[in-house]
Amino acid sequence: MAVTATVLFVLFTVVTTNKNTTSNNLNTKVGDQNVTYNFMENYTTTQPTEFDSTSPTPSSSSTEEPVQPTVPAKPLPASGRLLTPVTNVDSVCPCDKHKDVCDINCCCDRVCSEEVALFPSCSVDKISGKKMLCSRHVASYSLGSTMDGYSELQSSVRKETNYDIFCIQSQNRVDGLSHPSPALPTDSSFDSLFKELTSFIFGSEETSGQVSSAELQASSGYQYGDVMMTAGERGMFMLPAAAVTADCIDNSPAAFLKDQSSGCSRHVILEQDCGALPALSMDTYTNIQIFAGKNKDAELEVVPVEVASVVLQSVDGTQTELKISGGGNVNPVLLNPSLCAHVVLKVVYMMKYNPAGEIVNVSVSLLLGFVREGELSLEQKFHITFVQEDGEEVAVHYSGNPGYVVGLPLVSGTRIAEGFARSMDPRDTLSLLHSAEDQDCLQGTHQRSPVLFALDSVSGCTLRLEDTANCSLVFQLLLDVLRGPNHAQYVASFGNSPLDSPIDWVPIKNNFNPGEAHICSIPLSLHLEIEWIKYGSLVNPQAQIVSITEVIQTNTTRLDVLSGSSSTLSIMSSVAFIPVSSTALPGYRATPTINGKLPFDFFFPFV
């Protein structure tokens, strides 16, 4: 039972004649198997008007004249004209991919009349028109075998009836079952079409002109985040940083007013690089002339980089300040084939700026040291800070205002006559032992890491039992190692506690009393227990330290028993932050008379 689909005839907008009648009704569809081709239109360049009226099925399929657009602008030459669809099934052969050459297993290839005998099967055995039509033409190709075993082609074109109740009896809508023909690009429409059709393409990325937005601004000074210009060949003030890997990328610029610290690694081969690699030499970081502002047209003054200090680090890590006379530089020297001296390890820039956005003064501090052959990579650290022109060189860092901020160091101090004293360096505070590679508690210089608010941490070192011969000396040494060189007595309860108000400082409680001397007693662990509360309003609570306790554990049994047979002891230092604030409770100023007990989401979508 066929339902005739009668679709309104829609006039083509640019019809030149009334010749476009019911049109191409064949449909291309890749079948489930690759042997069946349902196909609709085959644009062929060789025979554009191939089928004319030789089609065996003239009732439902006829041709459509190529529609010439009547837009005023002529189509671009390269676009040409659209090809005529070929719609009769017997003239279409999708597997015919070589002109005038027989394609293997392609039974519909007309030049294959001889070679068909060699084919085992047909790669395309069925070509049919549109599936939705109630009757369609199907060209089928199959191989039979002759008496002597060779294949022989059996091809037929027949009419197939579709018994679907929703098949289309006749189709008079021109573009109902085919893609609309695209608008031919013209000179005037090309750009808009290109933009519309190619939203994402290769090569659409931004061009390299990175300071275009900055140049638009009228002010001559730098703005926040601007790249700073230098007079040299590089043009920009660079601060090496790591990007996609940990390797140093030298071409990364520094941004104005963005304090930045970066560490990156550099692979060096000493014989080649020691004297030659510019990144190792301090000249690279000191011999820079920075434009004070970004406006290149005006005569800008150029600010040279001043060397504030050069510190030499020896092989074993001790640091001495180097006096440079007459502005001379220290260049890397290859002392012996496996040791390169005076290599830049750390660069700290300090830039002074004025409110006009101009750089007033640039100073650099350098740390030079040694590189050994065989080390994996050289690590370099770079740091840049911006300070106001008339400001102090080093501002006092708060660790929160007022409450402590998670991740900032605790503020510690010592009691003096008129209040408290604290170090200007925010990292010079209550600190923990930092685990080092040689692990020995009594040897070497110990790195320390500051105690950061709300971060519980643990670290440690090992003690060899043979070092504990002089018990009282080891006791004192270990205590110094665990507590650090500057042992603080007070900790500020807020991140910005003033130095002259004693109530804002919390003493470090200590429950440690050296035990009796009948066995060798040494501290095995130092544990800082810091209790803090949330203070103030519920929406913006401020962290306040209320008490801090230093717990030092000593051994109560003999050391050799404690260590078992390993002859080493592990000495731990740890810190724990314990929130002791009572949980916030919702409350009413006056007790309401009705205590509604409905669950909180009972009226969920309404309230």
């Binding site: 994402f200 990325e205 996609v244 390797d247 071409n251």
Partner: protein, 313 residues
Amino acid sequence: MSLPMAFYDVYSHPALIRYKTSVCSKATLFLAVVLCLTYISPLLVAYRSQGFWLKRSTYEEQPVVRFQYQTLLVAATNTQGDYVAWSTFPHLNNMLGANLRIPAVSVREEDQNQDGKLDFLNFQLQLPLKPEEQVYSVQLLLTFSYKLFRMSTVVMQSLAYVQHSSSVPGAKLFISGDLRLLQRTPLPHRGLYNIYNVSVIDGSSPFASAYDLDNIIRSYQDRNLTTMLSCPMPVWTVGRAAGSPFQLNAEIRYPMEVISYRPGFWETIKYAWIQYVSVLLIFLWVFERIQRFVFQNQVLTTVPIPVGKPHLS
């Protein structure tokens, strides 16, 4: 022997009886209690049995995904940590200097079922290598434009990240996976949701920190809505011939996604209403029986007045 007379119901009709009482009586109180129990208890029953208010629902949609043609590739070329890298970002390429290695890339996106939505990305990359170089690890970032339309309109830029490393140098890495949507919170049921329509990698930045993979992944994972390349079986082919490039072939499908959303007011009400009424019907039936028993048997004193007998005499 007498046959019993055969009787049958030839006709029946219900008779209405009105029970009258004064306002201040036990019957009035009883009626009030019954009404409350009938209409409020179903609400409590429906709520206490969980799921009364629909808070999360799902729908299915195939997203509209386009590859944005932004790529970042890092390959380690020896075990000491030397690497080559390439990206479609000119600033990064300039910064890479000697480590820049431009590969040959070909990309094809395909609409396999002709429904107007792309289903499949075929990404092929050939990385030329110097004779002394071998590829030990590959990190690849691809960015996509991701759109959903059915409930709320979601427009975002998303990321697919591939990382593979091996102790044996490879000739080829083949990746075939799905670009899956990950949701931390349900989407709203309507409106435009475009807060993540921002570049995953800021290609206009001249600073190295913008291309730091840590920073890129950290800020990307901060999102509530992300995509992830789900590729459980990457294939690392070893045995590269001298002079041949390292090949990276990725086939990424854009599958149908089940997306959870927060239902709107009327959808929530509709589901609650269905539950309420279905429980209410039981209570109405039960309390109707109770009331009939109470009034028919005069448990509470009322005045029954049968009606519907206009011709009494």
